[in-house]
């Protein structure tokens, strides 16, 4: 596979969904800036109380506690972006092979010397990696912006008010915190691969309303299974439990010592990696191959 053709194909995906991929992260980031600002303006700043609190902070001894708080704050910044990004990914996957059939441009694209493998892989990469990267980056930009403000604040505090927060900076372990969040992206992609592949398959197969085609079969299978289990007195609904188990990330998935900050930091990554199973990867591969097969054999105008 030619790298430049892959790059060009991913670029094309981004052009197609440009509006969504630009304005959603920007709006979200904007909300993150605008809402606190608004609250501050409305409620006013109690400067003396704030300085008191900051003085306490500079004298604090509970380094570990502080680091944990810092990491939690960073996550709190990233989580909305990750969640909204996930919704955007869902929208992308449901439509990535459907829109071009609906507007009849699929025959134009297929009359160009780009292989179907490259097309499918480029769409998969766009949805699984590139879109999350955009949202993670938006969050990171905000994060860096916040750091910058904090830095300026610290300078002002130490010069103007003789409050030194510099020890906090070193103990906050900013880079590790940020790094551990970014590292979850690829394992998350592998974990959610069956979902992505399933959506791509419905996207290329559905004649209308691909979103319904994605949801309804699953729901129908779950209902049928529940009925069968109930009436045949089977032990448990296999499929239902599997879906629930695979796609939920709960604290008990990663058993850690809450005092160990390093463990806390790596908990999300651990939880995700625990979910990955070679069997689901195989199923994903199967679904992707089915998508490829439909594109090569059944893509008729």
């Amino acid at each position: 596979m030619n790298a430049s053709i892959m790059k060009a194909s991913i670029k094309k995906e981004l052009w197609e969904f440009n509006g969504m991929l630009k304005w959603v992260p920007i709006s979200l980031a904007g909300a993150f800036i605008f809402i606190p600002l608004l609250t501050l303006l409305l409620n006013g700043i109690d400067t003396s109380m704030m300085l008191e609190g900051l003085k306490h902070l500079s004298e604090a001894n509970d380094i570990k506690g502080l680091t944990k708080v810092f990491f939690v704050a960073t996550s709190a910044l990233f989580i909305p972006f990750i969640v909204v990004g996930f919704l955007v990914q869902m929208h992308y996957f449901v439509n990535c092979l459907y829109d071009e059939r609906r507007d009849q441009s699929v025959m134009f694209w297929r009359s160009l010397p780009v292989s179907d493998e490259v097309t499918i892989v480029s769409k998969l990469l766009t949805g699984a990696i590139v879109i999350p990267t955009i949202f993670y980056s938006a969050a990171t930009v905000l994060f860096v912006g916040g750091l910058l403000l904090a830095f300026i604040g610290s300078v002002i505090l130490s010069i103007g008010f003789d409050i030194s927060l510099w020890s906090l900076w070193s103990s906050a372990q900013i880079m590790s915190g940020l790094g551990s969040i970014w590292l979850t992206m690829i394992p998350t992609a592998i974990w959610l691969l069956p979902l992505y592949a399933w959506l791509m398959l419905t996207s290329i197969y559905a004649k209308k309303a691909p979103f319904l085609w994605a949801i309804l079969p699953i729901v129908v299978v779950l209902i049928i299974e529940a009925i069968l289990v109930h009436y045949l007195q089977l032990s448990q609904p296999f499929f239902g439990h599997f879906i629930g188990d695979y796609f939920s990330i709960t604290p008990d998935k990663a058993i850690i010592n809450p005092d160990d900050i390093i463990a806390v930091r790596w908990a999300p990554l651990q939880a995700v990696m625990a979910q990955i199973d070679y069997r689901t990867v195989l199923v994903s591969a199967g679904l992707l191959f089915a998508t490829y097969w439909v594109r090569v054999n059944k893509q008729e105008s």
Binding site: N18, S111, S115
Partner: protein, 285 residues
């Protein structure tokens, strides 16, 4: 001259419906072939099989490649304009040029830019902002820049005004065509491109009913204006088509001796449209 495209025994069914029933076609370099037939005759399916856009039974070889197995290699030298292969509305002109440059080894971006400079198309326009004629021009610009060896046009001028249609063919002839390329065109406006075609193939109900050069067709078929007295005599020669009006009957004959026909009335050369109508009627009678 070896064939650039050779189609042999092409068959295609959608479920129980047979769309192509054994099409044989051969296109050589320098030919401009018109694929003419009524709606539903299988023109679009035939072209899509040649492009590897649909699976098929039979043998097809395009520039030595199999359209399904060597799709990508084949498409580097083949270009396609169709009313069912539309440029997406969200695409910007600049994006189209950039994308083509990246994925097409033969794309000469300056050629496309030169062509577009002569139009009203701005480089930052989205396809949805362009009129139908301008979209056709954009598509043509992209095609001209590829400089493909084989050009497949499926109703390329559908819905365009006459000025755009004329310009389309002018550009095709002046900027694209050379003796080592071949063009396949389907269109409903056969009168318009009658003289542009070097060869024509009539297709009906999934089969080729006639495939010859336009020169040969003009020599083979004759149009005769027969008076009422000559009618029975003329009927014996089995005309393909008859049309009576104002005291004279116009008849279309295939492969008849010109001298015999001249004895029946005034003999003229039929237009391609006349021949087409005659052949189609003959098949359906």
């Amino acid at each position: 001259m070896s064939a650039l495209i050779s189609v042999s025994g092409l068959c295609k069914s959608y479920g129980s419906k047979k769309v192509l029933s054994g099409v044989d076609l051969s296109l050589n370099a320098g030919q401009i072939v018109g694929l003419v037939g009524p709606n539903g005759a299988g023109k679009t399916t035939c072209l899509q099989a040649i492009l590897g856009l649909t699976d098929f039974d039979g043998d097809i070889s395009v520039l030595g490649h199999h359209p399904r197995k060597d799709r990508v290699k084949m498409l580097k030298e083949v270009a396609y304009i169709a009313d069912v292969a539309i440029l997406p509305k969200w695409l910007k002109v600049s994006q189209a040029l950039s994308y083509m440059q990246d994925i097409h080894p033969n794309f000469a971006i300056e050629k496309a830019q030169e062509f577009l400079a002569k139009t009203n198309i701005a480089v930052n326009d989205k396809v949805k902002a362009l009129s139908k004629g301008m979209v056709a021009q954009l598509h043509l610009a992209l095609i001209l820049a590829i400089d493909a060896k084989v050009l497949i046009l499926d109703e390329p001028t559908l819905g365009l005004d006459i000025l755009t249609r004329r310009q389309f063919y002018s550009h095709l002839l002046e900027d694209f065509y050379t003796e080592d390329k071949c063009i396949v065109v389907t269109t409903h406006q056969i009168e318009e491109i009658e003289h542009i075609l070097t060869d024509v193939a009539f297709i009906q109900q999934g089969k080729i009913v006639l495939a010859q050069s336009t020169d040969d067709i003009r020599q083979r078929f004759n149009l005769v204006s027969v008076t009422n007295e000559q009618l029975p005599q003329a009927d014996e020669l089995q005309p393909l088509f008859k049309n009576s009006m104002m005291g004279l009957t116009t008849m279309l004959f295939d492969n008849q001796d010109k001298e015999i026909l001249q004895g029946l009335g005034k003999v003229t050369v039929p237009s391609l449209a006349d021949v087409f109508v005659g052949i189609m009627n003959k098949e359906t009678c």
